[in-house]
Symmetry: C2
C-alpha cells in the first residue's frame, strides 16, 4: 500500500478548527487507499510561549533543559491530533520522537538524526491507524530529548518519508508553494510547479524562508520528492524534485532578496597560507555567520578580503576584526545597509548570457552593484539596501519570471545561447 | 549521604518567582549535606488549560492520548526547575518518568506503578546534581506515557523516596499541614504536628484533600515518613508516620466533613447469598463510586440495603437501581443533600466513650443523625447537608480539638476510659 507523509506547520495546527481540518485531510488520503503518517509542529505561538517561560528563569538556559521544555510543544499537538482523528471515527496513535526511536546525536538544540526505528510506525499503519509523529524532536541513545534546530519539523518529515520509503511527502504550510520571488515584494511573482533540490537549496539560503536548507539537503540525499502546499485549500503546490532535462531549459527559475546585510573589507592583508583561515576562525569564535567571501590580490602583493554578514551581527564581528587588525596589521572598512539580489536556475549550467542580462537590467535602472558572487546555478549582486526591493522586481521582470507577461517579454530563454561549458555566465 | 525527596505541588511552582523559591529550598538542603531529589507538578492552572484544549477537540478523548497530552504539564516544570537551579550555579538535571523508567501498568489515566530504575537517579545524585523528576506520570513497558490519576504527584514522591531509601520526604504545598478540621469551616482548627498513616487514610477518604489516600497507602506500605508543609515559609508542617504509643493517648485526632452526598435505600431485598454482590456489581457498571454501605435484616426476613454516593452521581446510580428494582422486586428510596461528619483517631482502638460523646454533642445542637458507620479508628454520622458545617464545629469543639481552649474544655482525653477491647465505641 502506498504511504503518504504529511507535515503540518505551526500555523496549520494553530487552533482546534485547524487541527480538525488537518485531521480531515488525513482521513481523505486514507480513504483514497493510502497509509497516512502526519508530522506536526507546535501550535501557533506555543514555542514562543515556552521560550518566554525559559527566559523568565534564565537568560542562558542549559541546552538539554531547553530541549526538554520545547519538545512539549509538539507533544501537545500530536495528542490533540490523535484525539481529533479518533473523534471523527478514524483510529489514530501519536508518537513522540522517543517513542519511535528517532535517534540523534547529543548536540542539543541542533541535533542531527542518526536513525529511525520504522517498524513501530509500519506496525500501526498496518493495523489501519493514522500515525502522528512529533516534528522537530529527537532522542539520544541515553534517552535525553533533543531538538533538530531551525526547520527541524521539515527534517522530521523528510526523514520519516525516507525511512518508510513513502511515495508522497507533503509539506502543508500557510503559503501556496515556492514562488519565482517573494509575492509580498513582487506582485507578479508566479507559483512554481516544480523546482529542483539544488535550486531550492540556493533559494533557501538566499532568503526564501518556506523550507530550511537542511530539510532540502535531506530530501535530496534520500531522494524524497517534497510537495509544498497550502493547508487552507486543495490546489497543487510546488514539487521539489531531482532536476529533469526539461528543467534545464528554464535558465532562471526564481529570484530572491536578502536584506539587512553588512560588508566587512580587510585591506593590506599579508598574502600567505593560513591567514584567511585565521580571519574566519576569529569571526566564527564570535558566533558570527559569514555569508559570501571575496578575496583579491592587489598590485603590492597584499590581499583584500571582504565578506558579508547579517547587519545584526556586525557588533560581534567588529570585535573579531579589531583583534585581527592588530595581529595582521591590516585596515578594515565597514558598509552596512546592503542587500543581495540573486537569480537561481539549473539551466545556468548549460546556458550563457545570464550574468550579462542581470547586470544590464540593474544598470538600466541605475542600481549600482557593489559585489558579485556566483555558484554553478546562481548569480548574486550586493547592492544598496534602499534599492533592494526595486532590484528584485527589475531582475524578476528581466528574466520574464512573472505572470501575465506577453510573449515578447520573455527573452531569457531566447537570448540564452546553448553552451557546453559549465559556469558559462 | 542522606537523601531528601521534596515535592512541589502546582501552586508552589505556579510562576517563575515560585520556581526560584523552590530551587533555593533545594539548594539550602544540598548545602546542609543532603542529596536532593525534587518531584514537581504542572504549573498552577496548566493541567486545566490542557484539559480545556482536549475538550475543544473531543468530549471523550482516548485515555492514551489524554495522558500523552497531560504529561507535558510536568515536563515543562521539570525543565524550568532545572534551568532555575543551573542559573543559581547548582548543577541539576530533569527527568521525565520515561527517562528514569517509572514503569506502570497500562491503565491510562489511573496507572499503577510497578517499578522504578533508581540507579540513574543515584548516578546523578552522586555526581553532585539536584535531580528533578516529573510527578504524576509513568511509562508502560512498551513506552507509552501514563498518568497516575488524582494525587498522582504524591504517589511519585513517595515511590521515589521508597526506591531511593530516602531519609526525608517532604510534600510542599499551599497549606501549613494537616489540621484538626478544615480551617475554612472551623476557625479554631489546629495544625497537627503528627498523624498516623491510618488516621491520614481515613481523613483523606473523608474529605481532607491535602493528600490522596493512594499516596498515603504507598507511604505506609514502604515505611516512608511524609512531611506535609507550606512552600511559602520554613515552619514545620505535619509528619505522617507509623503510629506511636503516645499517639494512642489522643483519642480523636481530627474531624472531617464530606458534603454533597445522597443515600439510596433498597427495601424488601431477598436475603440470600449473592444478592448484595449483584446490587453493587450493577452500580459499579455505571462507574458510580459507593461510599458507605449499611445492611439490616427486617422481621419479615427481607433485607434493607442502604448506601451513600456522591450527589453528582445519583442519576447514573438511579439507572442501575431501576434495573435492580425489577430484577429483585424490591423498592427504592432516595435522599439527597446529605453530609457526613466524622471523627478520626487511633486512640479509639483502646478508648471507650467516643461514639457516645459524638452523638450527644450533635443531639444537644438539634442535629439529627440519619446513619452511623464506624471503622476501628473513625465514627461517621450522616446528617442533613444544611447542618454539615455546624456539625463539624460542634464535634470539633466537643473533643477539644481546637486552639486557645481553656483546659476544662478538653474533656475527650479525661472522659475516655482506657479499655483493652478493640472497637470499644
Amino acid at each position: 500500500m502506498s504511504i503518504v507523509v504529511m507535515k503540518f506547520g505551526g500555523t496549520s495546527v494553530a487552533d482546534a478548527r485547524k487541527i480538525r481540518a488537518a485531521a480531515r485531510r488525513a482521513i481523505r488520503a486514507q480513504k483514497q487507499g493510502r497509509q497516512v503518517v502526519m508530522v506536526v509542529s507546535a501550535m501557533g505561538k506555543e514555542t514562543d510561549r515556552l521560550v518566554d517561560l525559559a527566559r523568565q528563569i534564565s537568560p542562558t538556559p542549559p541546552h538539554r533543559e531547553m530541549d526538554q521544555l520545547l519538545a512539549t510543544g509538539e507533544q501537545v499537538t500530536i495528542s490533540l491530533m490523535a484525539m481529533s482523528l479518533e473523534e471523527m471515527g478514524c483510529p489514530a496513535i501519536s508518537f513522540t520522537a522517543g517513542q519511535i526511536g528517532m535517534v540523534t546525536d547529543e548536540a542539543h538544540t541542533k541535533a542531527r538524526l542518526k536513525s529511525i526505528a520504522a517498524e513501530k510506525i509500519h506496525h500501526e499503519l498496518d493495523a489501519g491507524k493514522v500515525v502522528i509523529v512529533a516534528g522537530f524532536q529527537g532522542v539520544t541513545e541515553s534517552g535525553a530529548i533533543t531538538t533538530l534546530g531551525r526547520g527541524g519539523s521539515n527534517v522530521t518529515l523528510v526523514a520519516i518519508a525516507a525511512a518508510l520509503k513513502a511515495d508522497l511527502c507533503e509539506n502543508f504550510t500557510d503559503v501556496d508553494g515556492i514562488f519565482t520571488a517573494d509575492p509580498r515584494i513582487v506582485p507578479t511573482a508566479r507559483k512554481l510547479d516544480a523546482v529542483s533540490y539544488d535550486e531550492m537549496l540556493e533559494l533557501a539560503s538566499l532568503g526564501a524562508s518556506v523550507l530550511h536548507h537542511r530539510a532540502v539537503e535531506f530530501a535530496k540525499k534520500y531522494d524524497v520528492p517534497l510537495h509544498v502546499r497550502n493547508s487552507e485549500h486543495n490546489r497543487k503546490g510546488t514539487l521539489i524534485v531531482h532536476e529533469t532535462e526539461s528543467m534545464e531549459r528554464i535558465v532562471v527559475r526564481g529570484a530572491a532578496l536578502k536584506e539587512g546585510l553588512a560588508r566587512v573589507t580587510l585591506s593590506s592583508v599579508p598574502d600567505h597560507p593560513g591567514v584567511v583561515a585565521r580571519i574566519f576562525h576569529q569571526v566564527a569564535r564570535e558566533n558570527v555567520v559569514v555569508d559570501d567571501i571575496i578575496q583579491t590580490i592587489a598590485d603590492n602583493g597584499k590581499a583584500t578580503v571582504s565578506f558579508t554578514v547579517e547587519m545584526a551581527e556586525l557588533p560581534e564581528c567588529k570585535q573579531a576584526v579589531d583583534i585581527l587588525r592588530k595581529e595582521l596589521k591590516c585596515s578594515a572598512r565597514y558598509e552596512d545597509h546592503l542587500a543581495k539580489v540573486s537569480v537561481v536556475g539549473v539551466g545556468m549550467r548549460t546556458h550563457t548570457g545570464v550574468a550579462e542580462k542581470m547586470f544590464a537590467s540593474l544598470a538600466a535602472e541605475g542600481i549600482n552593484i557593489q559585489n558579485i558572487t556566483t555558484s554553478e546555478i546562481k548569480i548574486s549582486c550586493l547592492i544598496n539596501r534602499t534599492q533592494g526591493k526595486k532590484a528584485l522586481r527589475v531582475v524578476h521582470d528581466a528574466f520574464g519570471l512573472g505572470i501575465q507577461k506577453p510573449a515578447r517579454k520573455k527573452p531569457a530563454k531566447k537570448a540564452a545561447k546553448k553552451s557546453t561549458r559549465k559556469k558559462a555566465k
